[in-house]
């Protein structure tokens, strides 16, 4: 007798027949388990949501009035014939890998993850499983992340240089996760940290749930280069070079993303400076995470799926590509549109 797989890949999303629920679905379904609040994973219109307590406030903030329940990291819950639990993915505050066990067979859907500790998110915890669903946004050996302190030093050097030259430093970053991580890396002795409303709203939500962030100032219409000299401005990428940014006077713009590792992309997108920092795992991080799961079967959902899968197969895993609508770190979209375009 062949058993139905624990998780299957359907046009609606990743589905668990035993528990009749979906993980990060992209079409409307009754019951959705959500790995984290980015708009390509937490979409509007599901009947019920289940996510970590830490992920819920941002989801409510973004999705409005939803029927949602929280769960603690590591807490087990039985849904139909499946036992599920959420484990830290280290991607953004509240992000989780979702473990699903049915009759002793364990699957883990990891959503987006990174394996280094960013100081804000619960650090990635490998979960042993038989089947591991992984991203591969940066699944090429050209991607290697420097330690966070190194990038922090580069950021602060740039900011200090701008401030000393009488310029405002404006840094583009996703408003959920990346922005707060950058803020926590800044040296407040250099000057004030101003945040675009999209970023500051998320800061407020996170502070309210007990996450400690350095002081920031909402860059409303009264805040300019005159009122706040030596400032660092954190804004969604779409705000860079916009009419809104004009009020900060003489300025340099920077962009923080894993894509900045490639000179070509850096030159196209970075403005004045590109900082290589990502909330996704680099090549070594992906391989380490996969190894730690001890899984034999690997499903690669988004990123450099074909190349990464071929490499895994060559290294002895049983890997396959599963097309999804996850976006990974999409440098060209602002995650703040609600729809990850």
């Amino acid at each position: 007798m062949t058993r139905a797989p624990v998780l299957t890949f359907t046009p609606e999303g990743i589905y668990c027949p035993a528990g009749d629920f979906y993980i990060d679905p992209w079409r409307r379904v009754d019951r959705a388990l959500i790995t984290h609040g980015h708009s390509d994973h937490a979409r509007w219109g599901m009947g019920r949501y289940l996510a970590t307590h830490e992920a819920l406030p941002v989801m409510r903030h973004r999705l409005g009035d939803i029927v949602a329940e929280g769960i603690a990291y590591g807490e087990q819950r039985v849904i139909g014939g499946a036992t599920v639990s959420f484990h830290p993915a280290g991607h953004v505050p509240g992000s989780a890998q979702i473990r699903v066990e049915v009759a002793g067979e364990v699957w883990v859907a990891s959503g987006d993850y990174k394996v280094i500790d960013d100081g804000l998110s619960a650090p990635f915890e490998p979960v042993r499983c038989h089947h591991f669903i992984t991203e591969s946004t940066f699944g090429l050996p050209v991607f290697h992340w420097e330690p966070q302190e190194t990038v922090a030093a580069q950021l602060n050097d740039w900011w200090r240089g701008c401030a000393d030259a009488g310029k405002t430093a404006i840094l583009g970053a996703y408003s959920l996760g990346k922005a707060q991580r950058l803020i926590s890396m800044l040296d407040p002795a250099i000057g004030p940290v101003l945040c675009h409303a999209a970023v500051e709203n998320t800061n407020t939500v996170m502070r309210a749930q007990g996450i400690t962030l350095p002081d920031t100032i909402l860059a409303n219409k009264d805040v300019t280069a005159k009122t706040h000299p030596r400032a660092m401005v954190i804004a969604p990428p779409s705000a860079l070079g916009s009419a809104w940014s004009k009020k900060f006077g003489p300025q340099e713009s920077g962009f923080a993303s894993g894509w900045m590792a490639m000179r070509g992309v850096r030159r196209r997108r970075a403005g004045d400076r590109g900082f290589i920092i990502s909330d996704h795992a680099d090549w070594a991080g992906l391989l380490w995470a996969i190894e730690q799961t001890e899984a034999e079967n690997i499903y690669v959902t988004h990123g450099y799926t074909d190349i990464f899968t071929r490499y895994l197969n060559e290294q002895g895993w049983n890997a396959q590509v599963v097309p999804t609508q996850f976006e990974g770190e999409n440098l060209d979209a602002s995650d703040d549109s609600g729809e990850a375009a």
């Binding site: 050209v142 070509g264 992309v265």
Partner: protein, 532 residues
């Protein structure tokens, strides 16, 4: 290498001209002559002899990185640059070596004759000693082409500031055939006699596109009109009994166009002509299409048959040097009169001809010419102010090109592929089809013409509408119609549709047009009949 790497980084990470010029000028003020010389050479496309083949370099790179070669080869097109790909896959480390740029180049020259084992030892040792940008630059020295965001113009300006010399004079000195192996900083930049090299060309004067039409120009009597030919721009130099032919890209093409050798029989020594290289059959009323010229450009030596089938003639439209004197500062009408006098006695079979001027009195005359440009095998008109000097580089005001509107066709996007380098994470390379009954016939690829915002939008759409993947290529739902512009069309048995387009690009994303309004194969064949 550290100082050069810092310069490179400063230039590379800024988009602001002033920052780049400052960084260059600071470098030129501080560096040793030999390093300065190599810096100018590298930034103007000259490079050391390639000591190591790129095949070996890839193998060694993959080996040191501990990855299979196929994986390296997959990364390369995504990164878009071999030197950078190697620098990125190698295990990260810090630079512990302080050899200057010129020393590294010398050391590379030393291993040129060594065997593979010695070359490998040298390269691996360099990778172990160099980190970050320095390692990238080292790889660039081997693979060549240090293209950074520095135009010749910008570098010349910085050099002018650092050396306190005239910019136009420096631009001229930097033209032509020099190489750091056989000159010095002093000889190139500072020495009195800048014209020592007989082959040295003048910087080309380049026109901007005229957007508003000839009505936007002042008094028509102050202007001269010519066909804008669809060939390659060339500068013919006759000095010291020899002749030299330069392309606009500063490539010496003398050997590619042996028919021009006879120019020395008809024109006096000490002449420099600016014109267009065209394939023009004896006695023909117009030149052949660019397609006939194309194979000539790629050939370093030309077989007899090709010389006979595709004879090249220089159609001269300007005179830059006469009787050994640089006359670029003379008014265009005077240079032109001198050119006409010089060409008056040319026999019919001379490899140089005078490119005619088109008489006109009103802007509407110019419109009439432009409407017939395609029949004349020209791609539009050139409008030049009668009293304009011959300037260096692209300058606004005195010279304009007024090109024909391109041919266009509405086509359906059916395949998408991601770009490389700057556009590695976007879908930018598309295949387009025309309708043929119920089927779609692919006929061209295009990868330019959309804005970054449009590429982002179409990328998101491709991700959600992929029907099938063939490696990096995605077949997408036929849905979006694009207006494809192109400069020419010809029959091609190599293409499924039977046609090949010249310089196809996306003119507009026709989001207003449904699939059913895209053009058909019949439409395409009709264009081939009319314009092919």
């Amino acid at each position: 290498m550290k100082a050069f790497a810092e310069l490179f980084t400063a230039i590379d990470q800024s988009t602001k001209t002033t920052i780049k010029i400052n960084a260059l000028a600071d470098y030129f003020n501080a560096a040793e002559d030999i390093d300065k010389l190599w810096t100018i050479a590298l930034f103007s496309g000259r490079r050391p002899k390639r000591a190591v083949t790129t095949t070996r370099l890839r193998e060694w790179g993959a080996e040191v990185a501990g990855i299979p070669l196929w994986l390296f080869e997959e990364c390369y097109p995504i990164v878009g640059d071999l030197a950078e790909t190697i620098a990125l896959v190698l295990p990260p480390n810090q630079t512990t070596d302080n050899r200057p740029l010129s020393q590294w180049i010398n050391d590379l020259r030393e291993v040129y004759k060594a065997d593979d084992a010695a070359k490998k030892a040298f390269v691996l040792d360099a990778w172990a000693r160099l980190g970050g940008t320095e390692r990238f630059i080292f790889n660039k020295l081997i693979t060549g082409g240090m293209r950074v965001g520095v135009s010749q113009k910008l570098m010349t300006r910085a050099l002018a500031r650092a050396t306190d010399r005239d910019e136009a004079e420096l631009a001229h000195r930097l033209m032509g055939n020099w190489h750091p192996d056989d000159t010095t900083w002093h000889a190139l930049i500072e020495a009195q006699d800048a014209s020592a090299d007989a082959s040295r060309p003048y910087p080309f004067y380049l026109a901007y596109a005229l957007e508003g039409g000839p009505e936007t120009l002042d008094d028509p009597a102050d202007w001269r009109a010519e066909w804008k030919w669809d060939g390659i721009r060339g500068q013919l130099i006759l000095r010291g009994g020899e002749h030299f032919v330069w392309s606009r890209g500063e490539e010496l093409m003398t050997d590619r166009f042996p028919e021009l050798a006879r120019a020395v029989d008809f024109l006096p020594d000490g002449s420099v002509l600016d014109g267009e290289l065209l394939v023009w059959q004896p006695g023909a009323a117009h030149p052949d299409s660019f397609n006939t010229l194309q194979p000539r450009i790629g050939r370093k030596s030309v077989p007899k048959k090709m010389l006979k089938d595709a004879p090249v003639v220089l159609h001269a439209y300007d005179l830059l040097e006469w009787e050994g004197e640089d006359i670029r500062h003379h008014p265009f009408k005077d240079r032109r009169a001198q050119l006409e006098a010089a060409c008056a006695a040319l026999p019919a079979d001379a490899p140089v001809k005078l490119s005619p001027q088109l008489p006109f009195t009103t802007p509407s005359d110019l419109h009439a010419y432009r409407d017939t440009a395609r029949e004349a095998f020209a791609e539009g008109l050139m409008l030049k102010r009668a009293d304009s000097p011959y300037l260096a580089g692209r300058k606004k005001g005195d010279w304009w090109k007024w090109k024909l509107a391109p041919l266009t066709i509405d086509a359906v996007m059916i395949y998408a592929q991601s770009g490389s380098g700057r556009r590695a994470n976007l879908f930018t390379d598309f295949t387009f089809a025309v309708r043929d009954g119920e089927t779609l016939v692919p006929f061209t690829k295009a990868y330019s013409g959309l804005t970054d915002a449009e590429f982002r939008q179409i990328t998101a759409w491709v991700r959600k509408n992929t029907l099938q993947r063939f490696g990096p290529v995605r077949q997408v739902t036929p849905h979006h119609v694009f207006e494809i512009a192109f400069e020419g069309i010809q029959a091609s048995p190599r293409h499924k549709s039977g046609v090949a387009l010249r310089f196809p690009r996306m003119l507009r994303w026709r989001q207003d047009k449904p699939l059913t309004e895209a053009n058909t194969l019949d439409d395409l064949n009709e264009m081939l009949r009319v314009y092919g």
